[in-house]
Amino acid sequence: MAVTFVTAWKKNDPKLEADVIALWRGMNVLPKGESTDKRVKQIAILAYDDDRLAGISSLEVQAIPQLRQKFAFVRELIHPDYRKNLIARTLVKHTREMIEAYALAHPEEAIAGLAAVFQTPHLGKRAIGLESGMGLIGYTDKHEQIRAGWFEHFMVPANLTPPSEFPELDIVE
């Protein structure tokens, strides 16, 4: 199996978006009420096994009030046929590399790092992910791990007062 990773972030590529929507529908994974059109604009990296879509990462930029900065929250979906192939680990590595370079090139978006909420209990044995670089920074009310990895280039603003523009953390589900 030769898996290739394709960057889809902000590409608005109709072919890639159609592949993603087909996989979501096939796996019935879109929550009720969620807009497919909105969600498909968050796709980041796609993992293909030849022409077959095997995995998707998507990103949603949200504030983490605890850190007083915006982070790109990553979600992954792996086709069941590929869950034993370590695609998830490689996918998050590629996703981090891509979004870190994007954030560096787009300082106006002020994306400080990559973050995730680990909803699967077997995830997060190590406090810092080897591939993602995301460290454990706390827990949700549901006792899920919240992870964040600062981008190397990101400079913390000297303003030490809490910013008022950050709403309460709206964790990606």
């Binding site: 605890q66 044995k125 809490p162």
Partner: protein, 172 residues
Amino acid sequence: MTTTYIDAWRKSDPKLEAAATAFWTELNLLPEGATAAERLKELAVLAYDGATLIGVSTLKINFFDQLRQKFAFAREAIRPEYRLQSVGRDLMLATREVIEPYALAHPEEEIAGIGAIYQAPGIGKRGIGRKTRLALIGYTAKNEQVRIGWFSHFIVPPNLTPPKPRTGGGAE
């Protein structure tokens, strides 16, 4: 300047303890109500420029509620004329290099990492320190940065329920 770092952690070395006590006393660094004897139990690393003691770090192991683990919280005192020379950063790095192998060798103490409260406004410019690898994970009520460096060997227990409340918890 060539700085030498001496590991004093849990050594109870009278010579190192006397040097640290003299340093704290000379610079009037012990807060009111704190005694050198108490602080000496936390003595971690001494930094020397030649024969001059230029910095001292201590470690206090506290349960950190936010992360549900125990961390070794570091404090540093640097001789004033050596500040702004990266001595603090290098002393933090040396302190980490002392406590991380100690934690690995003493799993019964369950020390998950090193922590610090950055009280000086000029430090903590990057989200994660390039040398120390201490990451910003929050702020105190006084808007000071709370930094954590997880030890690479530490495995997070699978228990997802919150720990029982303990007294004296927290980063401060």
